[in-house]
């Protein structure tokens, strides 16, 4: 087995999960770009999308009805969260809004805990994308291949939306200068709602892909992917959509490489036995975050914001 054959399966897993992180990361980066808020509840919206799918699918509806229904409900949840938990705090200090976000996250998790009884729920099998395919030396689900393609398609659509449409222009204006755009007659609340709707929609799509790959949902399912997606957004430069996507792919790939690092090093003859480095697969993401924040706080593609004295 040559090096490529050893590394390839990890790359494949990484690209797949990276694409799913990317879809969550876009929601983080857009909301941060406009509200300067880390929407801690975003990962939980992703999880709620998963749970909603579990319950809708178990009601016996055909899957082509379930998917749009799930996306619709997810979008509504995202919209509702903004209206209930963030809008009343528009003029409050940033810390209050962030705490509200943490509160929402806590509430969503507990609500799902109550509904599910705290048990893992089996995600329904979605036909076609769950099929097994063989790519080079690895066998995987079709969703692994679809994810990056879908992500790129969605990102292109999103970039077009932001650059070509009126609402997109309004979004860019608001993210540049909140107060001024308000004075210019932009309906701030509509723009913010639109942002949350787009973010939640993408998280919903991400959730379908993610849980098809890893088909168990529990109330904490969204926490880790959420945090990682946020790190991806920071890594790519918060506010930048391509940055978030690239960051997410890098994090997804690195995380899986680390899980397999023992094997890779072992095969390469560098170490003689496993060192348990897989323990650090999650921690690595955060180490990367701290390093990037120190070396280049604006991320890979971020714009520098100067504070006025």
């Amino acid at each position: 087995m040559n090096v490529w054959d050893t590394v390839f399966p990890y790359l494949l897993s990484g690209i797949s999960v990276g694409g799913q992180y990317a879809l969550i990361a876009i929601g983080y980066t857009m909301v941060y770009g406009i509200l300067r808020l880390i929407n801690f509840a975003h990962g939980d919206v992703f999880m709620v999308a998963g749970i909603v799918m579990v319950y809708i699918a178990s009601s016996g509806l055909p899957i082509w009805v379930c998917i749009p229904l799930v996306l619709l409900i997810t979008v509504f949840v995202g919209f509702l969260i903004e209206r209930v938990a963030y809008k009343p705090l528009r003029s409050a200090p940033r810390m209050s809004v962030m705490i509200s976000a943490i509160g929402v996250s806590y509430a969503l998790q507990n609500l799902v805990l109550y509904v599910t009884g705290g048990l893992n729920k089996q995600y329904p099998t979605i036909p076609w994308i769950s099929d097994t395919v063989v790519i080079g030396p690895a066998k995987t689900k079709l969703v692994t291949v679809i994810t990056p393609i879908l992500v790129i398609a969605l990102v292109v659509a999103l970039v077009l939306l932001i650059n070509k449409t009126k609402i997109g222009m309004a979004m860019r204006a608001v993210s540049k200068d909140f107060e001024t755009s308000q004075l210019m007659g932009i309906k701030i609340n509509n723009v913010i709602s639109a942002t949350f709707i787009i973010g939640s929609f993408l998280a919903g799509v991400g959730s379908i892909l993610y849980f098809t790959n890893y088909p168990t949902v529990i109330q904490t399912s969204g926490a880790m992917p959420g945090l990682k997606a946020f790190v991806a957004a920071v890594f790519g430069g918060i506010g930048s959509i391509p940055g978030a996507v690239i960051g997410a792919f890098i994090i997804g790939i690195m995380e899986n490489i680390i899980k397999g690092l023992d094997v890779i090093l072992f095969k390469a003859g560098i170490i003689s036995g496993p060192m348990g480095l897989a323990t650090f697969s999650d921690a690595f993401t955060f180490a990367l975050l701290i390093v990037i924040l120190i070396v280049k706080p604006t991320g890979l593609f971020g714009e520098k914001v100067t504070d006025k004295v």
Binding site: I38, R94, M95, G103, N110, A283, F286, I294
Partner: protein
Amino acid sequence: MKKKNNIGSYITLGVVILIYAAVFIAEQTIPSTSMLFTVLKKGATYALVAVSMNLLNGFTGIFSLGQAGFMLIGAYIYGIFTIPVSMRGQVYQYFDGGLVQFTLPIIIAMILGGLAAAFFAFLIGLPVLRLKSDYLAIATLGFAEIVRAIFQWNGLGPVTNGSNMLRSFPNFNDFNITDAQGNVTVYLSTLIPFIMSGICILIIVLLINSSYGRAFKAIRDDEVAAEAMGINLAHHKRLAFCISSFFAGVSGAMLAMYQTTVQAKSFTSAMTYEILLIVVIGGIGSVTGSVLSSFLFVACSEWWLRFLDEQQMIGDFQVPLLRNGFRLVVFSVIIMIVVLFFRRGIMGDRELWNLNFTGRRKNKGDGK
């Protein structure tokens, strides 16, 4: 003004003494199996960590979410150095009894736990404290996750027992005074955590009201102006960060004593969020508030709202909705109401000793 201040202080002192006396008496009279003592012990532990977090978030304006990581360090250091040598073979069953083959006195181990947490805070503080509000929050959160992974790593097993549980170290019950037959004669298992926590909180209060505390508050109010007043931002922020982490470490050791076992995997970011919510409910910038809300939070989550988790019958009528997990739903709703509508929390930024006991309300400046 000065006179009134003193009245407040005396009243506070009186209240504190009354509470301690009540705790002592309750412990001797009420059966030790009562849920009350669990709440008090855990409440005392949480009070300390909440106040330590408030020192950072409320008084210095540094939004840090690393508290669970520092508690973990304190808890582990305490556990590692206090497990009786005779028990080490059992606890470190997969690591031949571990590397550490001596024990330290409880107090020394607690302080060492705090110092270790402060040391880690110093290291991480050098780069991280330069970051602005939410970036700092997410970096400290990440740091806590990294600490968790390090302590779980099998490579450090001989010291940390890998990802396995530490146990058999002295816990709160070991403070009870027993007679020769092993029967408890004087119960101290609740009073001692109160004293530990009380001393630590007193030190924090003294710090807050010292010249350094004023400097911290100046930084919170306006960094630029504070710097223009000759306050070295880096130095003072690091100081606040290390001191807060020290006490988080000590409270970690107390949590270890409360839980009787320690395991790295339970020190998650969810724990930090919980502590943050305690601080918010109590009022950001109020020590009294943090202490009050710690006890309220623990009592509600462990005791008073427990009935929501079980089916209740009123006569033949089964109350709907009640089942496992409902307590937490109600709890989250309460928290969201506080966060959205009572943003100042229970105490705002006031303290027990600053309250106007004479009944006349002074015109307060508009608090944000």
